[in-house]
């Protein structure tokens, strides 16, 4: 049986556009089932706003099952809210109590300009991916399965970082607005696998340097790991820092030849 949660006060960030000045707006939810997801709660609020002839709160969402990385809310000072290892869309109202006041803000980073209200533009991540988040593969017929042997621990470790859904919570949670966890997850995913070796060092160099154009610097606070819906470990950041050093030192001559 479901219970109802009563008397929720929402403080929601409203902002008309990238350059507009924003403000918090307060809304009351008198009663809601605890089975509602956080985004469903916002849907219900929006229905009410539209019925009242007001403008709906704009927020990003797509799959609503934690795999697309579109949802992005700072809830009570935590990226993706108070539940570990889940995206905003996987958060449910049962996590809250009667009478709670909940504050909702957009991700804040200069690389993620606010489009409207709670929605931000994360295409700076695309710039990082473009600069090295790919492998060169031959085209043609699909290769046989298991043609390239990959030891199980390596495959597992690569999968752990490939889980990154590009949501940007790491940047949002980082006191410095750094994107090291995202970038390192992508670097570690490909650099651990045999298919990623050809571009291993050019990849890490380009991705780190593109990251620098948009984001802050990692101070090893560890907030990103705590916020990441996929619980990607900051171990990948160490791997990226190591490969970056290797790219700059050992592989310098090889790259210089080209």
């Amino acid at each position: 049986m479901s219970n109802t949660i009563k008397n929720i006060t929402l403080k929601i960030w409203r902002q008309d556009g990238p350059a507009a000045k924003g403000h918090f707006e307060t809304h009351k939810i008198d009663e809601i089932t605890d089975e509602a997801s956080f985004l469903e709660m916002l849907d219900i609020l929006n229905d009410r706003l539209v019925t009242d002839g007001k403008e709906a709160v704009v927020f990003d969402h797509d799959c609503r099952e934690g795999i697309c990385g579109t949802c992005s809310l700072m809830i009570d000072g935590q990226a993706h809210g108070p539940q570990r290892g889940t995206a905003t869309c996987q958060l449910h109202m049962r996590k809250f109590n009667d009478g709670d006041s909940i504050t909702i803000e957009p991700w804040r980073a200069s690389a993620f300009p606010i489009i409207k209200d709670l929605m931000v533009d994360r295409s700076a991540f695309d710039r990082i991916i473009e600069s090295g988040g790919y492998i060169t593969a031959e085209t043609g017929g699909a290769p046989d399965a298991n043609l390239i042997p990959i030891p199980k621990p390596i495959a597992d470790a690569a999968m752990d970082s490939a889980e990154c859904i590009g949501c940007g919570a790491c940047v949002a949670a980082c006191p410095n607005g750094a994107a090291n966890l995202f970038t390192a997850a992508k670097v570690a995913h490909l650099n651990r696998l045999p298919q990623g070796q050809a571009e291993r060092y050019s990849r890490v160099e380009s991705m780190v340097e593109t990251m620098d154009d948009y984001f802050g610097s990692c101070t090893n606070h560890g907030e990103c790991e705590a916020a990441c819906p996929k619980e990607i470990s900051i171990d990948v950041i160490a791997l990226m820092h190591k490969d970056y050093r290797k790219a700059k030192f050992s592989n310098r001559k090889d790259l210089a030849r080209s």
Partner: protein, 259 residues
């Protein structure tokens, strides 16, 4: 991912790789935030080595005036007569000053980068999960250490604020006079505010190192599941040893244990 808002960045083209700028190697490395963190780490390690040996050397204080003064003389005459007196010490000092400069410059430019990365702060309170007091006060603890360092040099190295510095003493059995370091240390710590500043600054140094000595492992990419659990222990232990050693000196003077 998100919709693209019209921006200065241009369309997604699949060719985000910029032409590489040709630069001298070290400048090239230092031009990125990750490279600057290497610089912070290297200079941090150099200064960690210094503070550890500085503390260990000063333990000579507990062996008495003659021991400490002879130790200071030993540092002054490193490699003598291969090098003139004081030269090696000044080279070491020069290296440390260079490291300090590097550390400061990197800290400054990374701080500016981070400011630029989030010009509009969160408008509601953040609820930090992992970031601790030490990691969030690196700049503050660093600046207090810097202020202390200036004072410390004016006090015991240059004697600007300590009239005992520069006096010499001839110990029985010696052929030449040595600097009376011991007396100036006692004179310095007998001023209670100075002793308190020394204690506070060293506790902040410990807090700086509690995060810093852990952080270097990540910055350099020294990450190995087999020793990862020791990284925090190393940082805590290192910070504790330096703080306990350094803080014991003013306390011993104020308590009259050494006089």
């Amino acid at each position: 991912m998100a919709q693209v808002v019209a921006s200065h960045r241009g369309p997604v083209t699949g060719t985000a790789n910029k032409a590489k700028k040709r630069r001298p190697f070290l400048l090239d490395l230092y031009s990125t935030a990750v490279g600057k963190k290497y610089a912070m780490g290297i200079s941090g390690i150099a200064m960690m080595g210094f503070v550890l040996f500085h503390m260990i050397g000063n333990l000579k204080m507990y062996a008495g005036a003659a021991d400490l003064d002879h130790y200071a003389h030993f540092l002054q005459t490193l490699l003598y007569p291969l090098a003139p007196k004081g030269v090696v010490l000044w080279i070491l000092r020069g290296g440390l000053v260079a490291m300090l400069f590097l550390h400061l410059h990197a800290a400054w430019s990374l701080t500016m980068l981070n400011r630029k990365a989030r010009p509009v702060k969160y408008q509601s309170a953040r609820d930090y999960q992992i970031a601790n007091f030490a990691s969030r006060t690196m700049r503050l603890s660093g600046l207090v250490i810097l202020a202390f360092l200036v004072w410390h040099l004016l006090d015991l190295t240059f004697g600007v604020v300590n009239s005992e510095v520069g006096n010499k003493v001839l110990y029985p059995g010696d052929t030449e006079e040595v600097k009376a370091v011991y007396v100036s240390v006692i004179a310095s710590f007998e001023r209670v505010p100075v002793a308190l500043f020394y204690i506070v600054a060293n506790i902040l140094l410990g807090i700086h190192l509690f995060h810093g000595a852990w952080s270097i492992f990540q910055s350099f990419g020294w990450n190995n599941p087999r020793f990862n659990k020791w990284r925090r222990a190393f940082a805590t232990g290192f910070a504790a040893v330096v703080v306990v050693g350094n803080v014991s000196f003013p306390i011993a003077v104020m308590a009259g244990v050494i006089s």
